[in-house]
Amino acid sequence: MLRLEARAEPSRLMSWCSPLLAAVLTLLAGMIIFWLLGKDPLQGLRYFLIHPVKDLYGVSELLLKATPLMLCAIGLAVGFRANVWNIGAEGQFMLGAVGATGVALYFAESDSALILPAMVVAGAAAGAAWAAIPALLKTRFNANEILVSLMLVYVAQLSVSWLVFGPWRDPMGFGFPQTAMFHDAALLPAVLEGTRLHLGFGFALAALAAGYVFINRSYTGFKMRVAGEAAEAARYAGFSARRVIWIGLLTGGAAAGVAGMAEVAGPMGQLTDKISFGYGFAAIIVAFVGRLSAPGIFLASLLMALLFIGGEQVQQYMNLPSSISMVFQGLLLFFLLGSDVFIHYRLRFGRAGA
């Protein structure tokens, strides 16, 4: 007979093995799905895992896809560490894109080198402002930040639609819901010749480094961790609970806003009503698969980017529906939560007792 036995203390080894186990189980389940759909499972895996990274261009596309995930996830991790549950990075991402687009369109005639920095600032500020709404409602009225931040995603989505169908629609765009293409001064330079990989990837690496230092080394990060681990201890030590909420949400919002900026100023080059592919939601999974730590998030966002691109590939080459990549994301989170049980419990064979 199988049974679970509580561990005396959580296993550190298991807390790092659990994401790997989840990844393996996701692949196995994926193969079964391919098989059920009447496709060759090994072929499917090849398109999913190997094909996307078979050459330098493929790798650059992977990093490009991972960029918004890294940015959103590291920002979320700061809040999640403190039990501040910002589920609305998707909306904050869109607002960041809107903020940056506003700057690009307003200074469409200018060639100033200050435009890009201004777009970064505008993107971060707009994302943070969007996250400030749940923070304000939480600290003032104790409104649940999970619900508020999630619902604001839909408000953000509709606002973007209104902008690109209405005031910001490109007059030369044949009526498509999109703005004019940005001029060169408002586009992030490529970092790898001949690919679409742009400076935004550098932002993401810098954000990971900054997030690592903030969470693990700074006194403020320490206070956030204490608030997340033991709220009573934070109160006893005199750490302000409101400040923790504000920092947690604003950091997540600003990071997602920068990700949104990097998307419109990078591969998109304009704002459309399909600006996000669910990066903000996928980043929640990335943050947890990466154990809310910067190195973990780096690896997890590469894995998640692979699932995104792999999904497109099997759609293209094997005639599978595009929702297959959502299925893989869901499987990954499902198996991660399942594997996490083994951090606190161990599997035992045989009867209880002795």
């Binding site: 006194y219 320490f222 681990e229 109160r235 006893y236």
Partner: protein, 523 residues
């Protein structure tokens, strides 16, 4: 003294043979033999972690032993669950009560009985039992309006209604006034005379000496001795319990004329908790170089008062709390620490320390500023480790070193660490809640001495404790909190345990007369 010893030669009421209980990291019980005769009051004595509670849980069917046999009145039995234990005739009164606050006494009792006894009849039976055993409690009252002593009576009555032949009492006096302890002992002696056996768990040696016929001493999960308490002294039993002589605190006279470091002037605060206690017009000064103690039965406003002093709960106005002369009522806990306040809370894990964090990180929790553990907004790991290491060494904290997680320490060692962390910051005012609650005798004496040393160096110390003996041992002045009001503080030499016991019911000279019901409830 005690009722006549039970007659020998009869079948023992309960006999345990080779009881062993293994948890993933510890062996809680290791080959324990224990025999309880009919009508015997049998003490189980031991420090925290000696395995007393585990053994009682095994007898009552809450946990099952890994090995060993239980014989009940001569027959081998398996006690699979508490219901089975009750069916055998075993009752248990837990240290922490399990009563529904929003129900009446009779309703609470009905819930514990098998079947559905009619309430009217039950009310009658409760009244009879409470009359017979001298356990006054009104079956129609709601539990939230009862004092702790009354709640314990409800628990005991609930057991007695099932006519137990063995009653287990786990640390029953830790929450009672001295007068209530007297009444409880009378009840227990009466039960013993009627033939009910009692297993009495405690670490209060004087009580065991007064009440119990025999005692079994546990240390480290094993039986280390048996004795007849009447023939022993508290000192000799302590030696059996901890394996060495009990250290004695050195006190010395208090310095006089120190400045007032803590001034409470007319502190009133309504509790957020519907079953909490409102603080009413509290006045108290604590001066440099003295230890002031606050006695009282738990739940009379201690928690609320501590939070109002520590800053975890901010009060409406600035003036009622002054720390070092500064009006601090609106300041948070960190700001009050900057005025020289250090604070040891009652709960260690989760409030005084973050369970999953290392001791070094837990040093940063409150000593960041005073010990310079943060530089330019960043943690200084080396300094934090050094501070934690010093604390571990000076306060004899048994742990895996500064990197060990707080939750890996036993309660007593974590308490030593927290007290050490606060004391090493050389506070101007130290507020300490239940400094030795659940700490074994040796460590308790050490912590008391640390508080006295701090006072001798000119710190003002406020101690809130439910242990009267402790307060009389270390304090210079004692006040009593009852129903959210604070009595005047009296020099220890001018008062006695008996006086303070009376005050604990809210009856001190000059006290506002309380409504009859409230005064009764506090008794």
């Amino acid at each position: 003294m005690s009722s006549p010893s039970p007659t020998a030669g009869t079948t023992p009421r309960l006999r345990l043979a080779g009881i062993r209980k293994v948890y993933p990291t510890v062996v809680a019980n290791d080959g324990i033999d224990l025999t309880v005769e009919p009508g015997e009051i049998h003490a189980v004595l031991g420090e925290n972690g000696a395995g007393k509670s585990t053994l009682m849980k095994i007898i009552y069917g809450v946990t099952r032993p890994s090995a060993g046999e239980i014989h009940w009145e001569g027959e081998r039995v398996e006690v699979a669950n508490p219901a089975r234990a009750r069916a055998l005739g075993i009752g248990m009164v837990f240290q922490h009560f399990s009563l529904f606050e929003t129900l009446t006494v009779a309703e609470n009792v009905a819930l514990a009985l098998p079947g559905r006894p009619p309430l009217a009849e039950l009310t009658q039976r409760i009244a009879e039992v409470s009359e017979h055993y001298g356990l006054p409690v009104d079956p129609r009252r709601h539990v939230h309006a009862l004092s702790v002593g009354e709640r314990q009576r409800v628990e005991i009555i609930r057991c007695l209604l099932q006519n137990p032949r063995l009653l287990i009492m786990d640390e029953p006096t830790s929450v009672l006034t001295p007068q209530a302890v007297r009444r409880l002992f009378d009840t227990l002696r009466m039960l013993s005379v009627e033939g009910c056996s009692i297993l009495y768990i405690s670490h209060k040696l004087d009580e065991i000496q007064e009440l119990c016929h025999t005692a079994t001493v546990l240390r480290g999960g094993r039986v280390t001795g048996h004795c007849k308490p009447a023939e022993e002294t508290p000192q000799s039993m302590a030696r059996l319990m901890i394996g060495k002589d009990l250290p004695v605190c050195e006190h010395g006279p208090a310095a006089t004329g120190g400045e007032a470091r803590l001034q409470l002037s007319g502190l009133s605060h309504a509790s957020d908790d519907p079953f909490g206690t409102d603080l009413r017009d509290i006045h108290l000064d604590v001066h440099a170089g003295e230890i002031v103690g606050i006695a009282g039965v738990s739940g009379n406003g201690q928690q609320e008062l501590l939070r109002a002093i520590s800053g975890e709960e901010r009060i409406a106005e600035k003036f009622p709390v002054r720390i070092g002369g500064v009006e601090a009522g609106r300041l948070n806990a960190a700001q009050r620490r900057r005025l020289g306040l250090c604070f040891v809370p009652e709960e260690r894990l989760g409030r005084g320390a973050v369970p999953s964090m290392s001791l070094a990180d837990n040093a940063v929790l409150t000593a960041a500023r005073n010990a310079g553990l943060v530089r330019g907004g960043f943690l200084s790991f080396a300094r934090a480790r050094r501070f934690a290491a010093e604390c571990i060494e000076r306060f004899d904290v048994r742990s895996g070193g500064p990197r060990a997680a707080a939750k890996s320490l036993s309660g007593g060692n974590l308490q030593k660490f927290i007290v050490g962390r606060e004391v090493l910051q050389t506070p101007r005012l130290l507020v300490c809640a239940q400094p030795t609650w659940g700490v074994d005798v040796g460590a308790a004496a050490f912590i008391r001495q640390a508080l006295i040393d701090l006072r001798n160096r000119g710190c003002a110390v406020l101690v809130i404790s439910e242990e009267l003996d402790e307060l009389f041992e270390i304090c210079d002045r004692i006040a009593v909190i009852a129903k959210g009001r604070l009595s005047p503080a009296r020099p220890v030499a001018e008062t006695s345990v008996e006086d303070i016991g009376v005050w604990m019911s809210g009856l001190w000279p000059g006290a506002e007369p309380l409504p009859a019901e409230v005064a009764d409830a506090a008794a």
